[in-house]
Subunit: 290 residues, 2 copies
Amino acid sequence: MAVSAKSSPLSELRIALPSLPLRLQEVGRFVAANDYDATTRSMRDLAAEAGADPAAFTRLAKAIGYSGWDELRAALTEARRPSQTSPFSGRAKNRRHGPNADVALITDKLEAEAAGLPRISAQTIAEAARALHEAKRIWITGYRSCRSVAELLNYELRLFRPEQVQIVGSSGPDDLDLGAFRPGEAVIVIGFMPYTNASVRVAQAAYRAGATLIAIADSVAAPMAEGADHVLLFEAASSPGFFPSLTGALAIAQSLAAVTFSLGGAAAKKRLQDTEARLAAASTYVSEKG
Amino acid sequence: MAVSAKSSPLSELRIALPSLPLRLQEVGRFVAANDYDATTRSMRDLAAEAGADPAAFTRLAKAIGYSGWDELRAALTEARRPSQTSPFSGRAKNRRHGPNADVALITDKLEAEAAGLPRISAQTIAEAARALHEAKRIWITGYRSCRSVAELLNYELRLFRPEQVQIVGSSGPDDLDLGAFRPGEAVIVIGFMPYTNASVRVAQAAYRAGATLIAIADSVAAPMAEGADHVLLFEAASSPGFFPSLTGALAIAQSLAAVTFSLGGAAAKKRLQDTEARLAAASTYVSEKG
DNA sequence: AGAACCGTGCAACAAATGTTTCATGGCCGT
DNA sequence: ACGGCCATGAAACATTTGTTGCACGGTTCT
């Protein structure tokens, strides 16, 4: 067997396992069972926990074809690396042409988005909602495609807190609003890569003003997340297609509004009922047929 | 300074970032953006890639309250550990009363929405996209909360068909646009119960004008779906919460735009590239760091 | 302008890392 | 039973790690 297809280092390990000396098998099983620790902690550390000799790890690595433990660990590290950001060309290419190609694209897209939703941190949203609940005023920002999410959030929050919520720039140039941020107020900024300069400016202004900054973004490294008190993450690029997905951001916005409403208690409920009554009186909606 | 619970090392870093020296900010951003490498590779390695001094990493760690880089990395490692059953016994259990109810609400909501997405009919979307592709002009309508979805759809479609897409009422009263519908054009109406009268009027106008009517709604019985050539269904009320969910509608809109773009072929791709180039030239976006 | 301060890169430090060597002990084959 | 072989643990090795002291350059305050 000269060169076999390099599968995962873990499977290489498992395959070679039975033909190894007793002690090396033991160590090998430990590595397979604790591969996360194997990539992060030191050899001696692992040896202590596994109750084995440090040298055994080096020998194990060599026994399955690596130059040493360092190389094995590097392979494990690469195998574990999250979000291999390369299926861009790969996945897009192997979609076939034909009448079903579009349907397949949509199905993939929907499934990917559905898979992304449960990965959103509910805990973080709940904390941010509490901050919103306590805020004297709420500013919302989102540019370009994120504007749609910003407007939905604005809409839903205004249903029960009409005079305390507004979109930045809704009543004039953004710059005017940036100077109006105050401590005790909350500023929500929505954005993903590539980030607009305007959204970063809003985030910075909020931070400088001492307002509570809530960022809804695709990465903790997003520039508008710097200094943010709460960062709500969604997966924008997880789904195939020519444009990042906003499904996650929208789900976050809706949850945020729902929990904030919940925290509002009876007062919020009453405001919502008032709003609904007003809309009904203006016959905005099609009357339900009896 | 606001008192905040030590949630994640990344958020601590993020919060402290703006108040840090320039060089440390740079390093901190690098760590936030490459936190996986931060946990696996060595300080000197990271320094080389970030183009910074190794000592900066130690200083960064100390600046945000850790005893050194080792401790920061250990914290990052723990935060990243898969299957976080018990990172540290203390904090997760502390929240027994308040937020737990909210967290449960959010989790339920997200799961319900995730479950709803795969039930969307990809076939129907593909057919509607074909209709959009062939339309000489595309009108989009959505009122109240659905306005956000309408705007996203408008935004994405205009990326590659700028002069053929517009929101009804974007350049004057809706009534004016209603008279402009023509055969060969497509009208998209988004809505769910309770249905606004305005959206029904648009749908009826489209139908009478002989335009292709595409309804994105929560029911085939929706009044704006009457006479529609394509009805794309989503589940608005499937998730708990005080307000119906728009996640499904947004997912439909995004898929619709994606497939329409796909059908547009090379021409659409070129338009999109032109648009992106123009945005880059206007320095709308934060330039990627080198 | 002077002085104090701070941020920053460089280089040397001690500690910890992965590796190797060596001695020991058990195992199998002739 | 003897000799060769190999697995195994402990200790010594060179290297790399994270850290710290120091000097330089810039800014700010008096």
